[in-house]
Symmetry: C2
Subunit: 284 residues, 2 copies
């Protein structure tokens, strides 16, 4: 067939996935790429359990370093979010070599802590986008296929449609970014379009986190904010009185950050791929 | 009686209270101080409603400025927490005069955003402690009486018992402090004992917020951390594997911040008064 085999390493820096999910992922990938040129390489750490986490901090860090530094792998794909990447991010970055730097990386939500640390460290192949666990959502095959289309073929149809060539961008979950501010994981987002999304947070928490984010002097250097979907917002008691777009517009206006409209990302099966840094016209 | 009348102004920078709560507070205060020397002055803004808030930002800010700058009032007591102080704190501080600076101030939870901004601005009479709304807790009269004992007589039996004379301290809700970091509200807590408490947050969120707080370079200059109560922690799925003290000890060790043990504060009727700054032996 002439096209190179693509080997994708998978680890879980936060929560675990089940072996059944991995098996389903392998089968789905085989169906999407019947020529067999895509191989999903699940690190056994994905299935480990240590309280909340897919293994303790040492195990999660070691598995990610091993996967990232493996020169026979082309990409690092995060298995899922949950919580835990912030605990290992500094250790991981310190342990990575040039093989890790040349890879593509894909994930979102809690994995954003890891992407932030890597972006700060100058990694170029990073993107926000669907993870393995998204396969378990209703209709999740579309998200799964979109992620692979990006990782395997850099298919531009997977990309968030509002990204502009030559314009730097970075995409984060609102709460995750909030919790990185002022830590050694906070990347320099000057002149970036900052794309934000949220899930399962009350409106008053979204408002508070946007106060936090837009009040940060370094964040105020972004080129603007675009808002992805804020889904599964629990009822506010009393009603908050503003929806997520009104809140985001408010904090943009108050902070002097340009409001740039909505974005096609979120904790759902329609979540698009949004690379960190500059999207170039000839990225395919 | 010979003792001066104490007039306590009350506003609500976050959520509202009901007129019934105010009436009950007045009656309870009258019972506690039958000589009539304590007057609770509720600003009508306490009962206003604007979505989530006790009136819109302009109203909440104006009411607090009016109350704080009123030279006939001796103290500012926050009616309750909820959410909203961070939205008005900068406006309020900019509008305060010397009458505000000479007052005592008392509150906690969301009101911590206001206390932080005031402490940063050099205010000396600030304390974490029970609010009017605590009267509505089961057994809340004890918390209410403790707050008044501090505001009316600077009764040292109201104080958090681990405070040491000459040692600077500051007390915050974990999530509130996290959301202030890097904003214009973040106070300088160098050489302070930092007392933290939490309510209704999952263990993974407490862990994440303590990552955020203890990773902050300015926070790393504190003299140490003491942990108040973390109450009503929702079940973690799966079990987090560590309780709040283990998590706090972990982040202290990792960040090099001295762990100084537990503290008698929290979102409950036992919540003690913890002044910001230095407690002096002759503060009574």
């Amino acid at each position: 067939m002439g096209r190179a085999r693509v080997r994708i390493g998978i680890t879980a820096p936060g929560g675990r996935i089940t072996p059944e999910t991995a098996e389903r992922a392998r089968a789905t990938a085989a169906g999407l790429y019947p020529d067999g040129r895509v191989e999903l390489v699940f690190h056994p750490q994905c299935f480990a359990a240590h309280g909340h986490f897919a293994g303790d901090d040492d195990l999660r860090a070691a598995a990610l370093i091993e996967t990232a530094n493996d020169p026979t792998l082309d990409a690092v794909w995060f298995a899922r979010g949950g919580y835990g990447a912030c605990r290992v991010a500094e250790t991981v970055v310190a342990g990575l070599d040039e093989a890790a730097r040349s890879k593509m990386w894909l994930g979102y939500s809690d994995a954003g802590s890891m992407l932030a640390a890597l972006y700060r460290a100058g990694f170029a192949g990073l993107a926000h986008g669907p993870m393995v666990q998204d396969l378990c959502r209703e209709g999740g095959e579309a998200a799964f296929a979109r992620a692979l289309a990006w990782l395997v073929d850099r298919d531009r149809s997977a990309l968030e449609p509002g990204l502009r060539p030559g314009q730097k961008a970075a995409t984060f979950n609102i709460t995750i970014l909030s919790q990185l501010l002022g830590t050694p994981l906070q990347p320099d987002l000057s002149d970036h379009v900052l794309i934000l999304e949220e899930v399962s947070e009350h409106m008053y928490r979204i408002d508070r986190a946007l106060f936090h984010i837009t009040s940060n002097p370094d964040i105020r250097r972004v080129a603007g904010i675009r808002l992805g979907r804020c889904s599964l917002i629990p009822p506010n008691e009393p009603d908050f009185g503003q929806d997520e777009e009104a809140v985001a517009r408010y904090w943009c206006e108050r902070s002097g950050i340009p409001w740039l409209g909505r974005a096609d990302v979120g904790h759902d099966v329609d979540n698009r791929v949004a690379p960190f840094g500059t999207v170039t016209p000839d990225a395919t």
